[in-house]
């Protein structure tokens, strides 16, 4: 149950508040019902993301997809660090399972292969 809740972004404290007691104090039936409820929410969350899963391990998966969509919609400036140490800044204009296209501040668009990326974060130290 805690694992399911964590996947939904619900911490232990929030879960306890919602169910009214620590998970360990639930009866077997209550635990089963809450598990069912959390599993249902998890399925609903997944079903809001309609896409074809990428085939290779570096592909954009569910959580990263949600994060990229959020940043794209917000027009957030991101800084990407690649394997060779190069960095690129830009706003996300689109992505596929294996590539992310950004528009750099000067207007140029560049497509980065996911496999070449080590990490990315908001530019300018913004959390």
């Amino acid at each position: 149950m805690l694992g399911l809740a964590t996947r939904l972004g619900i911490g232990r404290a929030a879960l306890e508040e919602e169910i009214g007691k620590p998970p360990e104090a639930l009866t077997q039936k209550e635990a089963r019902d809450w598990n069912r409820e959390l599993a249902k929410r998890s399925t609903e969350q997944k079903s809001t993301i309609s896409r074809k899963r990428g085939y290779l391990p570096e592909s954009v998966d569910s959580f990263e997809l949600a994060y990229l969509l959020e940043q794209k919609d917000a027009g957030a400036l991101l800084r990407f660090t690649l394997f060779d140490g190069q960095t690129f800044e830009g706003v996300v204009v689109g992505f596929s399972p294996y590539q992310i296209t950004i528009r750099q501040p000067e207007g140029d668009e560049i497509t980065l292969n996911k496999l070449a990326i080590v990490y990315y974060r908001k530019a300018g130290g913004e959390a």
């Binding site: 805690l2 694992g3 964590t6 972004g9 911490g11 990428g54 290779l56 391990p57 570096e58 592909s59 954009v60 998966d61 569910s62 959580f63 990263e64 994060y67 660090t81 394997f83 140490g85 996911k114 496999l115 990326i117 080590v118 990490y119 990315y120 974060r121 908001k122 130290g125 913004e126 959390a127």
Partner: protein, 137 residues
């Protein structure tokens, strides 16, 4: 970094050859390398096969065995444990950097990290993680 990710990295630096052709050249059963590169579970148990692959790429057998212990599912387990415990998790990246922080989510391709001591939220690509704390612990 998993054996699969390391093998893909080595293949890229050897001209990104075709898997079937490499398998044929090395003398491996068809599909052996493809399976090693893509699976999430521990792979490469046959040291004789691994030695052939190491020789082809000019790598050491020990290096490939080291990566064999860092299979993708082991990283998943570490990420999940770190996320549930909310303890800081540490990762060595291909760039040589060590990154430490709280894991907020993970999926099959990446994970979200709130760096220890502040700093911007960071999305780390799993294939760029060379090592992490507590491997084999």
């Amino acid at each position: 970094m998993s054996l699969g990710d390391e093998l893909r990295y080595l293949r890229a630096f050897h001209g990104g050859g075709n898997l079937m052709e490499i398998e044929d050249e090395i003398g491996l059963d068809p599909g052996t390398l493809r399976m090693m590169e893509q699976r999430y579970c521990r792979v490469g148990e046959d040291d004789e096969e691994l030695a052939k692959i190491a020789a082809y790429y000019g790598a050491s057998l020990e290096k490939l065995q080291w990566h064999r212990e860092r299979y993708r599912k082991a990283l998943s387990a570490y990420l999940q444990e770190a996320m549930e415990s909310e303890d800081a998790a540490g990762f060595e990246l291909r760039t040589g950097e060590w990154m430490k922080g709280r894991v907020t989510w993970w999926d099959l391709g990446a994970f979200g990290l709130e760096p220890e001591g502040g700093g911007p939220f960071t999305v780390v690509q799993r294939h760029a993680v060379v090592d992490w704390e507590g491997v084999g612990a």
